[in-house]
């Protein structure tokens, strides 16, 4: 399924932010480190994050940052026209071309990714 580059970048950014949040969470980072995994180079994730930010338009970045203040999941799946962030049905039908545009939920404003 084709995906607009801005949506792709914003999903990579969210994956990265969730990874950073997991490392910053004392309990989950301890669990992962205790299994024997190396999670030492948080600075490398931060610099990868900075590079990603440069690829995003200001308006999308502002939206993402605004959503970040309210939600840990800023990009959420939409399935059968239902936003899986807030479970509200979307008034506009998502067609097969759903990911060729960056869209937001009409109710919670989260960025939507059609699955």
């Amino acid at each position: 399924m084709p995906i607009v580059p801005a949506l792709e970048t914003v999903i990579i950014l969210q994956d990265l932010d969730l990874m950073i949040a997991e490392v910053n969470d004392a309990q989950s980072s301890k669990t992962i480190a205790d299994m024997g995994f190396n999670i030492d180079n948080l600075d490398k994730l931060e610099s990868a994050r900075k590079e990603l930010l440069e690829k995003l338009d200001d308006s999308i970045l502002r939206l993402y940052n605004r959503l970040s203040r309210r939600y840990s999941h800023r990009v959420v799946p939409v399935q059968n026209n239902i936003c899986l962030g807030c479970f509200m049905t979307q008034p506009t039908r998502f067609t097969d071309t759903g990911n060729t545009q960056l869209r937001t939920c009409q109710s919670c404003n989260r960025i939507l990714y059609k699955i």
Binding site: M1, I3, E8, I11, I12, Q14, D15, L16, L18, M19, E22, V23, S28, T31, I32, M35, G36, F37, N38, I39, D40, N41, L42, K44, L45, A48, H73, V75, V76, P77, L84, Y113, I115
Partner: protein, 153 residues
């Protein structure tokens, strides 16, 4: 979580013996391509970038020739477990610098209601921590043999 529950996450379609790859980036590219071919992920590039970012954080090589790359991504609907043995040992920047041939890739969605991701990761790490298991993993040739090994049969 027990070995039976872990075994249920494996898929014969996602178990690859003697994959012919020469480097860690090539390994990830191939696994992501295979996942995409089999319709398991929505987008190759996002998954690849996320796996590579996790390696930047620190190598997922555990030593003794085993690596367990893992990540959450919006591009996966369900927890995915991939088993892979490479043809040749790979330079994986593992803590003991031993080349890696046994690779288990775990991908999970960000919102994972049953919260399976860390228990699966933990169980898998425990499974491969046994030397006799690792030795057998280097010898077996079918998914059935793998399952029997996991189920202790």
């Amino acid at each position: 979580m027990d070995n039976k529950a872990l075994a249920d996450f494996f898929d014969a379609e996602l178990f690859f013996f003697d994959l012919d790859v020469k480097s860690k980036p090539e390994l990830f590219r191939r696994l992501v391509e295979l996942l995409h071919e089999k319709g398991k992920i929505g987008n190759k590039n996002v998954i690849l970038q996320t796996i590579l970012a996790r390696e930047e954080l620190g190598s997922t090589g555990l030593g003794q020739g085993v690596a367990v790359p893992h990540s959450r991504s919006l591009m996966t609907k369900n927890l995915i477990l991939v088993g892979c043995r490479t043809k040749e040992p790979l330079d994986y920047a593992a803590p003991d610098d031993i080349g890696v041939r046994l690779v288990f890739l775990i991908l999970a969605p960000p919102q994972d209601p049953a919260n399976q991701y860390l228990p699966v990761l933990g169980k898998l790490v425990e499974f491969v921590s046994h030397e006799e298991i690792r030795n057998k993993l280097l010898e077996i040739g079918t998914f059935e043999e793998f399952k029997n090994l996991l189920l202790g049969e």
